[in-house]
Symmetry: C3
Subunit: 271 residues, 3 copies
């Protein structure tokens, strides 16, 4: 593994997404479908959303990555996720999990347990409360909002990653990404991003685009989050509120380049 | 009950939403999910959308208000609404109903009858045609559009509110809000708002945010509609069409303050 | 049939949409519902989206056109489309089909076969790969993206239109619209439009609005696509990326007028 991550790696990984132009199969919540499809396109990948169990597995087989997001989960959709996930596992297509609201209801807890036990997940991305819930630590979630912060819980996240073999990305003021042994912290972003619906789900889309395009996975995941957060940071500076943020953010994702990455990137790593 | 409503009340109620930061559980139509989630956030509340019957009741129990919108209703979703509504009723969590297209099809008429008979609804918000349909007056709806206006039908709306005990908010050129005895008219807004999808549904979201945060309910509902319409009015003035209206409107909702409310508020009341 | 199409026809057809203000019933994919509802409104028509089989047929009976889009199809939704389609056929309401991702999975291929055999479709609009798939030519689709271009395949499209009696509109760098005998090419548009999700689905919405408002159908379909592409072309010029494109595009659709059409229209016809 490379022992460093900086402008060069992040820029290279970002360029790889546009070259590979991977198809990202989303089985996701109905609130963010349009937003995350546009994020996928802006990052240079191709979104597809085929939630029905009658085709989700077949479609997954053609994808560069499979994204599973439980934001508006129901028992039928969970079945479809498992079917798609098994098809992805067979072809070594990485599965990226977004455990929206994990711990908030029994349905979500059960869904997460099913997905973790039935499938080999490559990456999970969530807020601190959600990841703490996955790691068996209770009380971190209200609805779909985190009540906990990542600060001080890095040990728990690393243990979870080490025990499950799942690269774990925890969003927050600082984003913490770990494979259980190595870690990367992305300091980019802006707190205003949490006042736009789907910005968490969109980060998972970024992760999926990058995971489908380059290895090693820890570096591509962190690069995806860095690009996403840099675009968000700039969009916050250039917009007048959460409404004008959305078009500005998609523009920034589409127009991100080496110079911007170099100027903005704030990252720490222990590789 | 306070015998007046003006800048002070509306500003206070608006501030209460940001203080309480209530979780608003939406079981709503798939056309407006993203838009109304962003409206919820811009007003200072926290959206959650958990439509599956496998969790809708549990999630409703954690909410500050439950919003039921029949815009893309189906029999399963109706069942889920009833389950969530019963959980909300048990804990005295206010239920806000948006009877989209009521009267347009048998499914919608039956859905409304089921919701009104099975649940204690706190507030209903719709256009004149929809509310006339609820009050048993036929012929007011084409698809999801009102063919009737509120003007001249205030008596029917008041009787409906008095007989059902449901605070009734009727959108139109002037918005009319009544508990059957007292009424408030909000004169803010702009006709252009009806050329953006979901602006009616969004008004119901505003009502839910405010109903979850302050009493008396008649005043909080009217305050929510006033804030919503003021933001819409300003956004119409500042945008070049229905496309640029959307980001501008969300910005205005997020940035609304006492000064703006004071400058813009046009309200009449009989309290 | 008129033997020419130019600014006058396109302007007239566009004005007809605003006069007739037809209700367009969409049974469509959940990714683009909000976007295409706003496109419908911006063009001067009234969107309604009633996907449940418990009301789709009744609602279709009130519509000016029925749009069927298989982007997130499942077996239940297909049943609902057939029911709505039969109701539309009985009342001679035009059905507009968008075969999103046709050929990509068995579910989509079967869905298309069912719709084509059970219903009388008036117009189909898709990318080259999708229409080639309908015409029995394999290998044109990856996910929901076309791998083929329209250029050089006009013969296949014309034969498909002639054999099925379906007006066939193929999107691409040049849009090709044919009834099997006559054809119209719309040269307007901008390649950037394909980096925004739902711009294809939105073109089908434009077609439905115009098909509901004026005849002959070949001219109204081509006029709808011309207006849509002109608005897109201008929006691309005026925006900084795919994010700012969206609000700008909706504004341009709403503000389109004879002068703009006259300045921009690039069209060829063999009538």
């Amino acid at each position: 593994m490379t022992t460093s991550i900086g402008t060069e790696t992040v820029t290279l990984m970002s360029a790889r997404v546009r070259e590979v132009h991977p198809m990202i199969h989303h089985i996701t919540n109905s609130v963010v479908m349009n937003f995350t499809a546009n994020i996928t396109l802006a990052m240079g990948a191709a979104p597809v959303m085929a939630p029905s169990i009658a085709e989700s597995a077949q479609m997954a087989g053609y994808a560069g990555a499979l994204l599973l997001n439980i934001g508006t989960i129901n028992p039928e959709l969970l079945e479809s996720m498992v079917a798609a996930g098994k098809a992805a596992n067979e072809k070594d297509i990485p599965i990226i999990l977004d455990p929206v609201g994990a711990g908030a209801t029994e349905l979500r807890t059960n869904a997460i347990n099913t997905l973790l036990s039935e499938l080999k997940i490559s990456v999970v991305r969530g807020n601190a409360g959600e990841i703490l819930s996955l790691a068996g630590t209770a009380g971190g979630v209200r609805g779909v909002d985190s009540l906990a912060t990542g600060e001080g819980n890095e040990e728990i996240f690393s243990t979870f990653a080490a025990e499950t073999g799942i690269i774990t990305a925890v969003s927050g003021e600082t984003d913490f990404i770990t494979d259980g042994k190595n870690w990367i912290k992305v300091l980019n972003g802006n707190p205003m991003m949490s006042s736009i619906t789907g910005t968490g789900c969109g980060a998972t889309t970024a992760v999926a685009c990058f995971a489908a395009s380059g290895t090693p996975l820890l570096l591509s995941v962190a690069s995806g989050i860095a690009c996403y957060n840099i675009a968000g940071e700039i969009a916050c500076e250039r917009s007048n509120g959460p409404g004008s943020f959305v078009p500005e953010f998609i523009d920034q994702l589409a127009n991100l380049n080496e110079e911007t990455i170099n100027t903005k990137l704030r990252i720490e790593a222990n590789l």
